[in-house]
Amino acid sequence: MITAENLTKRFGAHTAVDNVSFVARPGQVTGFLGPNGAGKSTTMRMIMGLDRPTSGHTTVNGRPFASHRDPMTQAGALLDAKAAHPGRRAVDHLRLLAATNSIPDRRVAEVLELTGLTDVARRRIGGFSLGMHQRLGIAATMLGDPQVLIFDEPVNGLDPEGVHWVRGFARARAAEGRTVFISSHLMSEMAQTADHIIVLGKGRVLADAPLKDFLRAAENPTVRVRVSDATVLGSLLSADGVTITQTAADSLEVAGMPSHLIARTAAHEGLELHELTPLSVSLEEAYLALTDEATEYRSAA
């Protein structure tokens, strides 16, 4: 389990992470979503002890990560797939990391097998493709068979096969009972991988909810209704959980009620319907709306 409590990180006058608190739980893939510059990577680096928080703190399995005597069995993190010496062979890179925690070399062979890198184990890392770098980084995270896995944008730049493999890998590890914490700037990606989503924007937590809540919001769109008497229909549709906004004399926007029920009510009262349009909001649009104000870098177009 990962916890962050009131975590803040400032670089000079710039606040990269602003009073962030959350929990990532075992048995789930927790998606850490946000636009570029939202503070996702900085937060992950603070969890792993690479960056020091300005205030607040994080724990991995109940303690600060650096205080564990067996760090590799507690957490494995892939924060930058390219962060390896290009002149070193893949197997030596893994042997070196394993040795830091007294993990035997046979485990190196196991993680190479797990990530499909056995055939290239003796090649120098400098000649690796991005996909192979990602697999090597994931292999390193698995050396200690850890409780917690942290992946920062693991599918960036991967081909479809690679993306599919990473998704499956993350889901399988969470199914084993591990805490899997993955960052991405793509809602579509998280929708296919995560059970729970934390949305970060300009260093702040904008949303922290199960994926199904996001899906429900996207599946129950607002319906635009143009009708002969909007006031009468509005009063007829009033009910718990239904939000009605009259936008013109003959027009309403109804949230929380499916289109067929609105049509049935209008027909029952003899009201003449002129338009019944679901204002569909995709998951991506819901996310963009949420992070619109919190986007750090945007194009002029």
Binding site: R25, M48, P71, T73, A99, N101
Partner: protein, 279 residues
């Protein structure tokens, strides 16, 4: 407000792990020996230490041979022990390269950050790195200086140079061990600079400036204290402990302590920067 969250029942891991100084030393040994650049440095270092010893033995021996073996007919002939230490100035340059790269190159490639995600205790990491680099450079330098002596001895014998050593301990063994300490101290000095500057280029440049340029600059300064400073510079104290002596003196001990202090100050400076800064 602080909230304490109870960790749920954890799954059982199949791997036993434990980090500490010994495991970090093993990792640093793999780190050092798994790079082709370090093997090349060792080969280049071997050439630069052994070749001058053999080469100068040949030049002085040829000079003596041309003079018909008459020692009074040549201006000066160094001893075999002096000839075998000719390559120490190259050995320390290679040691500076290896020391600086062991931290700065690992930092610039991101490898150091990956290592810190596996073993996050920074002082343990840099201490293990310095220990392994120092031990490796010391052993390499001692072996190469020993081989350099054998080369100078073999070539000098061919050309009739005096090969006897009056006091083998003070005249040969101690200078070789001193050369090893000097090389190891330079490696740790460069490692500390590498940790402070986080740049291999700047760490190597500054190390070479301190070793080779600073003594020349200090000697040109007209003030009286410049001579004392000159005596305390790393190149001079290191060269002193790597030279043949007649017996132990207070000056020898002072030179040894100052040589180690140069390495110690740079190491703790580098460790402090590494500890304080974000990785």
């Amino acid at each position: 407000m602080t909230t304490t969250l109870a960790a749920p029942a954890a799954r059982t891991t199949t791997v036993t792990a434990r980090t500490g100084f010994a495991s970090m030393m093993k990792a640093e040994w793999i780190s050092l020996t798994s790079l082709r650049g370090n093997t090349i440095s060792l080969i280049v270092g071997a050439l630069l230490v052994i070749a001058p010893a053999a080469g100068f033995a040949f030049l002085y021996g040829k000079d003596l041979q041309d003079a018909g073996g008459d020692l009074t007919a040549v201006p000066w002939v160094p001893t075999i022990a002096q000839l075998s230490g000719q390559g120490i100035m190259f050995a320390i340059a290679v040691a500076a390269l290896v020391g600086a790269a062991s931290v700065a190159k690992e930092h610039s490639t991101g490898s150091l950050r990956t290592q810190l995600t596996a073993a996050p205790r920074r002082f343990t990491l840099i201490a293990a790195k310095a220990t392994v680099v120092a031990a490796t450079v010391f052993v390499s330098a001692v072996v190469l200086l020993g081989l350099a002596f054998l080369a100078a001895f073999a070539v000098g014998s061919l050309y009739g140079l005096e090969t006897g050593i009056d006091n083998p301990f003070f005249g040969l063994i101690l200078p070789i061990l001193g050369g090893g300490v000097f090389s190891a101290a330079v490696a740790v000095f460069a490692l500390g600079l590498g940790a402070m500057l986080r740049s291999e280029t700047w760490a190597v440049t500054l190390s070479l400036v301190v070793l080779y340029v600073l003594p020349v600059l200090i000697m040109t300064v007209p003030w009286p204290w410049a001579h004392d400073v000159y005596d305390a510079l790393l190149f001079n104290t290191g060269a002193s402990i790597a030279s043949p002596i007649d017996s132990f003196t207070g000056d020898y001990v002072v030179d040894l302590v100052i040589t180690l202090a140069w390495a110690g100050v740079a190491f703790f400076g580098g460790a402090a920067v590494m500890n304080r800064k974000d990785a």
